[in-house]
């Protein structure tokens, strides 16, 4: 799918922001024109071939451009990789995810990988060696060196080369970093056509005849592409100690959480990942795997959604469950041209027992759920296993249910969601909680290490999981009874639900309560004419008409004419209003792309306005110091003002990126 106009603009700006003008000019033309050889690129960009070769080398190094040598003509074609370009906007988030999972050392390694593009392990080692040396020199020269490091640490979190190897192995195991092979530099289309040609030559003698052979060819191509992708995957290291990753993962998770509440005091003193003696092949070339990073980001988004809907403790348990699943999910969306679309009975799952064992002790499953009397809760229905067969029906029913209890769960606006306090979650279960303070007290104080503690913990965790499964968003689905219940997560429906709630929030924000109500009504009931809507929505016809026109102008809803006779006269025509969710989603995406490019342009302007101060901080003699040391009061004020502005703009980009993720990638 070719990227839209807004997407092109955004990506050009992102590349410009990261790697400068030369690369951005080349990239823009490649995005607009598709694949081109250097000769034509030179024609369209008015750059000299020498400049182009340098620019392309940078772009290839950073994985932003595919290249393919056409053997017949001997020309090399270059093609833009838009996913990687968009990934530039996510760099900060990906580094944060890496830090959450594997500690500051991993963040630093990911940072280096972003900096270097794809690189071999030995190059990375060299980079670290030289960096450590620099640090040593810096310390020797002046003891009062204050680095402008994020965490205020003067030493890099990676102390030794052994530790670097261990961190890399962990990142490779988890899939955040993947080995690079030459076939990755071919665009998906090129790979496809190459394989097609090969298979045609090998098995069909040049061309296919009839539909049957064509299907056969398609299947063969699919198999071959699947095989190529499987080849790329990291096979693990024989020297690795078993169960290492899982164990450390759990520990790090808790450490992260504790750090979150404490503020930014990092535990740089005790590196979380130690040198376990394993070494990687120094010639192995690696880069960051955006697909896997998206899976991690999706999990974060889902957990935030669960926290907003249910509560913090439940969301933490959900996060742990998703972390188990994450290892089995290489990418968010399956690619129909590569993956076999087999109707799997269930996706990857986990059992309550598994989850409870890895769940950190800091999470107390006893809290967060209130207790209603057994008469009020019907758990019988929950115990029943749901099969995926009825999924399509499920989706419809789900829509109904959400309509039913719409008013009492006002969706929060994007950006404000983080603010929603856990305490005043108007969850029905919480209500029951408050009415029974005595029981709650009992649950909370249930801390003693009795013999039944483990069993109880299991039961409590299971309750949280059931709560997740019964939510309208269907966070989890029960698939079996082994190990106190097996659970899986239907990401597609869940993400669809999230999208719906996000669109709802936007509608409420932009068109008020009545517009929101009309859109939801249209979503539930399908196409409606104005009269029905007046009755159902309980609004005045005049209000409805203006509202509908307003929403149509914005492109949210649209009208369909159904003539009652062949004349198509206005009074003999039925006008039906409808709300198309897919269209609303693309609209949101497009607007978000546009907003992001505007923010980047604004960022550029703000930087230029404050150029005097910023130029001072970029001077090579002071750039490693804290601006407070060398700027005078006025300059410092100016610097703080521009810094805050830049931060706010970048923050907004991050939030908008959340929307893009939700509607495009997850």
């Amino acid at each position: 799918m070719a990227p839209s106009k807004n997407a092109v603009e955004l990506m050009a700006l992102l590349v410009d922001e990261a790697y400068g003008e030369l690369t951005s000019r080349i990239f823009t033309i490649l995005l607009r024109r598709g694949r081109l050889p250097i000769r034509l690129l030179s024609m369209h960009t008015l750059l000299t071939p020498r400049q182009l070769r340098h620019g392309l080398a940078v772009l290839i190094q950073q994985g932003l451009v595919y290249h393919n040598l056409e053997v017949d003509t001997g020309t090399t074609f270059y093609e833009a990789n838009d996913d990687a370009a968009y990934g530039l906007a996510r760099a900060g988030k990906i580094m944060d995810v890496a830090e959450n999972r594997f500690g500051p050392a991993a963040r630093d390694v990911v940072h280096k990988l972003f900096l270097l593009g794809h690189c071999s392990v030995s190059d990375l080692v060299t980079a670290y060696e030289s960096k450590n040396k620099d640090h040593a020199n810096g310390n020797a020269e002046g003891s009062s060196t204050i680095t402008n490091d994020v965490n205020g640490q003067s030493v890099s979190p990676v102390d030794s080369i052994g530790q670097l190897h261990s961190v890399l192995i962990q990142l490779l195991d988890s899939g955040f970093v993947e080995p690079v092979v030459r076939s990755m530099f071919h665009s998906p289309e090129d790979t496809h056509s190459m394989i097609e040609r090969q298979i045609l030559q090998e098995s069909f003698g040049g061309s296919t005849k009839g539909a049957k052979q064509k299907d056969e060819l398609k299947l063969k191509i699919k198999n071959r592409m699947n095989a190529i992708r499987a080849e790329r995957e990291w096979k693990g290291n024989a020297k690795k100690r078993p169960l290492n990753g899982e164990h450390i993962n759990g520990i790090n998770g808790t450490n992260k959480r504790r750090r979150l509440s404490n503020g930014s005091s990092t535990v740089s003193g005790d590196p979380l990942i130690e040198d376990d003696g394993s070494r990687l092949d120094p010639t192995l070339v690696i880069h960051i795997n955006y697909e896997k990073c998206n899976v991690a980001l999706r999990n974060e988004a889902l957990v935030a959604f669960a926290k907003e809907r249910i509560g913090e403790i439940t969301s933490l348990i959900f996060a742990q469950g998703l972390a188990i699943l994450e290892k089995k999910i290489p990418r968010c969306r399956i690619n129909p041209s590569i993956d076999k679309v087999v109707d799997l009975p269930d996706g990857p799952g986990f059992t309550t027992k598994e989850l409870t064992t890895v769940l950190s002790k800091a999470v107390n499953p006893g809290t967060g759920i209130g207790k209603a009397s057994s008469g009020e809760v019907n758990t019988r229905a929950l115990e029943r296993l749901e099969s995926r067969k009825h999924k399509s029906e499920e989706v419809k029913i789900e829509g109904d249910v959400s309509m039913g209890d719409g008013p009492d769960e006002e969706p929060t606006i994007n950006g404000h969601t983080h603010l929603s306090d856990i305490e005043d979650d108007d969850d029905p279960f919480e209500e029951g909680d408050k009415s029974n303070p005595a029981k709650r007290r009992k649950l909370v104080t249930f801390q003693a290490e009795s013999s039944g503690d483990r069993e109880n913990r299991l039961e409590l965790v299971k309750k949280h999981l059931m709560l997740l499964a019964t939510d309208d968003a269907k966070f989890l689905r029960r698939t079996g009874n082994n190990g106190y219940g097996e659970w899986t997560c239907d990401f597609e429906t869940l993400v669809a639900k999230m999208q719906e709630s996000e669109v709802d929030a936007l509608l409420l924000e932009n068109f008020g309560i009545s517009g929101h109500r009309l859109a939801r009504m249209l979503r539930r009931l399908g196409k409606l004419d104005e009269k029905t809507m007046v009755d159902t929505a309980k609004l005045k016809p005049k209000d409805i008409r203006t509202k509908l026109a307003e929403m149509q102008m914005a492109g949210v809803i649209d009208i369909q004419e159904v003539p009652r006779d062949s004349n198509r006269t206005t009074n003999r025509t039925i006008f039906l209003w409808f709300f198309d969710e897919a269209r609303a989603a693309t609209m949101v995406t497009e607007h978000t792309y546009k907003a992001m490019s505007r923010i980047l342009q604004r960022l550029d302007i703000e930087r230029r306005r404050a150029h005097d101060v910023l130029a001072l901080t970029k001077r090579s003699d002071v750039r490693d110091f804290d601006p407070e040391v060398y700027l005078d009061a006025n300059q410092l004020n100016d610097f703080r003002a521009i810094d805050a502005k830049i931060d706010n703009l970048l923050c907004q980009i991050g939030r908008l990126d959340g929307l893009i993720g939700l509607f495009q990638e997850f």
């Binding site: 070769r53 340098h54 190094q61 900060g92 940072h111 972003f114 060299t126 994020v150 950006g415």
Partner: protein, 272 residues
């Protein structure tokens, strides 16, 4: 527009000169002119202060800024060459898009701020070409036509080219020197022997210094990084080897001027 056109037509056909659709030039004391300023652009209906930055977002932003700072300091970043940074960001078509970038930084130099001063010695280096020699590359992952660029062989070519040009200059100067020497010895036979001798020695000394200078420059060029030679190469692109010789050939200079121009135009076409 249409309304105005009609009005003018009406005036022409109607009451005659000086009247425009009922409006006259005569003084009217009771006339009320609207002097109220136009309304401002209406306020955005939905402006809200965004939520404050959370700790998680703060970390993400810091990560991002740090990474970007490092990339900008690194060898792969290229500085903008926009002619007018304040021009609107929106462009229509490739031609306009390409026009906004300066191709020759020296021609577009700002005479007031562009001259390097002492205080600018710490300013970050302006780079229009990425410095590929500062970064490790895995050659096998790049298309073959870029290999020479990655290895800096291209730079070597430029260097050879420059060296050749320098050699030629040197040879030319040497021949000039020989001619001068010949002239000096010829003049030495004249009356003012001592003075002429001094002049001859002067001239030969000057040539020597000049030659040394040229040698020095050539030597420096060898040590310089690729990007430094880019400018030189840009200049050289326009004049081919032969042209370089012609420029110093004073006799042939004006005769071949037209050919030079044609050559240049051809070169331009090749580039575009």
């Amino acid at each position: 527009m249409a309304g105005r056109g009609r009005g003018r037509g009406g005036a022409g056909a109607g009451a005659g000169a000086g009247q425009l659709k009922g409006a006259t030039w005569e003084y009217d004391a009771s006339i009320q002119l609207e002097s109220k300023p136009a309304d401002l652009f209406p306020k955005h209906p939905n402006l809200r202060k965004p939520a404050p930055i959370t700790t998680k977002e703060r970390r993400e932003i810091d990560n991002f800024k740090k990474l970007q700072d490092q990339i900008h300091r690194g060898p792969l970043y290229t500085q903008p060459t926009k002619r007018d940074p304040n021009a609107p960001a929106k462009t229509f078509g490739e031609e306009q898009f390409n026009k906004q970038f300066g191709t020759n930084s020296k021609a577009n130099m700002d005479p007031f701020h562009g001259v390097e001063t002492y205080s600018m010695r710490y300013a970050p280096k302006q780079r229009t070409l990425p410095k590929l020699s500062d970064q490790p590359f895995n050659k096998t992952l790049f298309p073959e036509e870029l290999w020479s660029t990655l290895e800096g062989e291209e730079g070597q070519e430029v260097r050879n080219h420059l060296n050749r040009a320098m050699e030629r200059k040197e040879a030319m100067l040497a021949s000039m020197k020989a001619a001068e020497n010949g002239a000096g010895s010829g003049a030495g036979n004249g009356a003012d022997n001592g003075a002429d001798k001094g002049a001859g020695a002067d001239a030969s000394a000057k040539t020597k210094i000049l030659l040394e200078k040229i040698h020095k420059v050539a030597g420096d060029e060898d040590n310089e990084e690729l990007e430094e030679e880019q400018d030189a190469e840009d200049v050289d692109d326009a004049y081919e080897d032969e042209d370089l010789g012609e420029d110093y050939n004073a006799e042939g200079y004006f005769d071949d001027g037209e050919d030079d121009q044609e050559d240049e135009a051809d070169g331009g076409d090749e580039n575009y």
